[in-house]
């Protein structure tokens, strides 16, 4: 694996979880994150941001593979049962690997 490869972890979930997600990913070792508002439809119906409760966020975290796995595991245990949440990851090239 090239030294410049890191894992981009993407979490799409309810905006009511934002504060908790921010806290959780940092606690588990992420050094930063990016959040955007979004909308869509999934197993828990259309979440079209018409209403506070219906709005979604997409959180992107670039981190080491170990951190990404730890975050995935934590999210699965904590939130998968009760919240609308989708998590996926991919390898990405970064210019400054020491930053993540």
């Amino acid at each position: 694996m090239s030294a410049n490869i890191r894992t981009l972890l993407t979490i799409i979930s309810e905006s009511s979880l934002e504060n908790r997600l921010v806290r959780d990913v940092q606690k588990l070792g992420a050094r930063g994150y990016t959040i955007t508002e979004c909308r869509g439809k999934g197993a828990r119906g259309a979440r079209d941001a018409e209403w506070d409760y219906d709005s979604n966020i997409r959180m992107e975290v670039i981190c080491s593979r170990e951190t990404a796995l730890a975050i995935e595991k934590w999210l699965q245990e904590k939130y998968y049962d009760d919240f609308a949440i989708v998590v996926y990851s991919d390898d990405v090239n970064v210019l400054r690997p020491d930053k993540f």
């Binding site: 009511s16 119906g45 018409e50 209403w51 506070d52 409760y53």
Partner: protein
């Protein structure tokens, strides 16, 4: 004559049912609800400055107690008759014990256009009634045994936009007084009804979006969403009579009791009782009870209060 703001609400419902593309941009909706919350808070704050606080304490306590008791009536009905899961029943019960600021705003507009005066410190009681039902709802769902992060719940309640802006508005109104508020009056008071009209247009769209969910949840929720506010309004009227409030004040209390939350409680419940299905309680409070109160409830509670006052000789 039908108040134009009600027509805006109906327009929203019709547009929503017709699957129109219309929607208020979410930032505008946020802005409109912030304006309403602050305006209501400011109005109450000005009045509070002229009231000895001790005189209001018994009413505050009575309203707080009402917020604790109402969910306790709703919960067994939802459990036994509605056959809801414990978490869902507790969450819906909490919604119905708490208040809807939107309904309150429509009620005061209704009273104003009918030239009915009411005790102006009502916004204080509005804030008081937001909180207790949330606590009862969490206890009903969780019991006392499990470790519950009350700090996080309190943070969610008191930093949520509803309670924060109402309390903030009350404080600013109280500190600034009527003369101090004069320069910002055009923004918050003169525009109130226009802002309320826009708010109701969006609420109509949101309520219509919930109607399709009703088919999933069946007739019980529909009946509950109409009967529960009627039942709760009696408590509000009772407190109004107990403290010898005006007909207008009693009507406002009836509306506060009858309305169901859709801002503070859903947010708090999502954090504290996540296994409760939020779509269930929001369908009831937004899809059924809010339209019922706006279209039928408020004029009905007013008539009930007129009758109650004439019977008790108030």
């Amino acid at each position: 004559m039908l108040d134009p703001i009600i027509l805006f609400f109906l327009l929203g419902i019709i547009a929503g049912l017709a699957r129109s593309e219309l929607r208020l941009p979410s930032q505008i909706y946020d802005f409109v609800s912030i304006l309403l919350l602050l305006a209501i808070g400011l109005k109450g704050g000005v009045e509070l400055a002229q009231q000895p606080f001790a005189k209001l304490a018994p009413q505050i306590l009575a309203v707080f107690a009402m917020g604790l008791i109402l969910p306790l009536f709703a919960f067994p009905v939802l459990r036994k008759l509605g056959k809801f899961k414990r978490a869902d029943a507790a969450s819906i019960a909490a919604h119905y014990g708490s208040v809807s600021v939107g309904t309150y705003a429509v009620a005061i507009a209704y009273l104003a256009s009918n030239d009915v005066s009411f005790e102006q410190y009502m916004p204080l009681l509005l804030v008081v009634l937001e909180v207790p039902a949330i606590l009862v709802g969490i206890l009903l769902a969780r019991g006392l045994s499990k470790n519950m992060n009350w700090g996080e719940v309190a943070h969610e309640i008191f930093t949520g936009k509803g309670v924060l802006l109402l309390l903030g508005g009350l404080a600013i109104g109280w500190i600034a007084g009527p003369e101090g508020l004069e320069p910002i009056k055009p923004m918050f008071f003169d525009l109130f009804k226009g802002v309320l009209a826009l708010f109701l247009l969006e609420m109509g769209l949101i309520a219509a979006a919930r109607v399709s969910a009703l088919r999933t949840y069946g007739a019980f929720l529909l009946v509950f969403g109409v009967v529960m506010p009627l039942f709760s309004s009696l408590f509000g009227i009772g407190i109004g009579l107990l403290f010898d409030l005006s007909v207008g004040g009693t009507t406002v209390l009836a509306v506060l009791a009858a309305s169901a939350s859709y801002i503070a409680v859903p947010a708090a419940m999502r954090i504290s009782v996540p296994e409760a299905n939020p779509s269930l309680s929001l369908t009831a409070s937004l899809g059924i009870t809010f339209p019922f109160n706006v279209l039928v409830g408020i004029p009905l509670y007013y008539q009930m209060c007129l009758w109650a006052h004439s019977v008790t000789g108030g």
